[in-house]
Symmetry: C2
Subunit: 277 residues, 2 copies
Amino acid sequence: MFVFLNNQLLEAEKATLHISDLAIQRGYGIFDFFRVRDNALLYVEDHLDRFIHSAQFMHLACPYSKDQLHSILQELQQKNNLPNSSMRMILTGGYSADAYQPADPNLIIMQSPLAFQDTLVPKSLSIITHEYVRDIPEAKTINYTMGIWLQSKLAEQKADDVLYHINGTVSEFPRCNFFIVTKNNVIMTPAKNVLKGVTRKKVLACASSHYKVVEGPVTIDDILNAKEAFLTSSTKRIQAVTKVNDKAIGNGEPGAITTELLKSLVTVEQNYVSKKL
Amino acid sequence: MFVFLNNQLLEAEKATLHISDLAIQRGYGIFDFFRVRDNALLYVEDHLDRFIHSAQFMHLACPYSKDQLHSILQELQQKNNLPNSSMRMILTGGYSADAYQPADPNLIIMQSPLAFQDTLVPKSLSIITHEYVRDIPEAKTINYTMGIWLQSKLAEQKADDVLYHINGTVSEFPRCNFFIVTKNNVIMTPAKNVLKGVTRKKVLACASSHYKVVEGPVTIDDILNAKEAFLTSSTKRIQAVTKVNDKAIGNGEPGAITTELLKSLVTVEQNYVSKKL
């Protein structure tokens, strides 16, 4: 397996950073993540736009343009020859002289095998809530301190994931976006304090052709009154959320609209890949 | 210069971590920092207690006991022979197989030269405020995303540091604790959402022998009504805060009690070092 580090492809096991990097010293950096399907870099344009936005927002000078990053990703994809896989891009704060001021960033691109089925039946998840908002919700930073820390709580409570909220108004999961379907078939997703996911964007596009769609505040009470709920992410696509804090959502089963949107999303993905072939 | 990495002393330039470390992938880790003065590891017992507490709180298994860490620090100090310096200890989330689950932590101990004067006149600082609370205030994590991100705002506003608050109730600076002296000579410092600094502890001990001391809520209004304000940290000791959001605190000069506490703190430090010689 090869990775791309700063300006070269090298064997993954040889890819290291000096301990003075600001990611190690201060957890400072940004990242992005997407899937490779049948050799196509899924929605790579969206992911590169977001990566570049995150870098700018966090005052990190990305050493490559969008087109250059795209070429590097293609080169890595050819080198590793993993038709179905994941790509992880990280831009760190760089080798800081005083362990506080960002320096020239270090760029890491890693690829891993990732098998993926076109399952059309949504998985069913039980979630808990936790009061928290990410430090800088506008950017996809590497700071997952809270999400990782909460894993032991998830295990204790036998929950699958944790939804962040502030005063009962929910935002996002550590790595996924959240949607509800109201009793009137309105599809709602939080717009504030969230990372605007690429899968979220695709689902909003799918949903808006058949349903009223609202990007706005969603409370824990709204969830309990909803007919359906689901989460979205690049690796999870759409998964049904059927329980929150041990209370059933709707009838406690993955709903019809959740299932319909998953089918639409898989079709969108298949069409994207077909066009790239 | 030598550093200690996991289980060995090695030359600093050779100290690297593989990119799969959870600090690089997810900004996950803890740290601590203290000064070395005349070869004495300043308040090392307090710093090691806190380091071990932070590790436990963040579910990271520190590979060494307090005594073992102390011996490693002494060995590094002898090897580098830097009588006046700083020590930085980091324990990362380790080489994670899935870039999310913590693994066996990597331990880093770095030393840098640090010249230090026993100046008895406090520096005068102008600060701004920013609404934020650290993800996990109980632990000294490596997550300084917000503090580093705000550096450009500090430069724009020509301020020296930024004090975090929630709804006007202040907590701490990214790397320092905060105190005010009220018009009645009561010394107050926030107790909630703060990292309990070692210098904070020493200053509380100095102050309590002459003044009433309160650990409790301090608001931005309280600061504007205060006679004096100051911050504390291992590297800054005590510095006067004379301006907040462009408004003068007290008479806008370092105050008498701030100056007196700085003198006491320097004496405590000198006595600590004398006992270790």
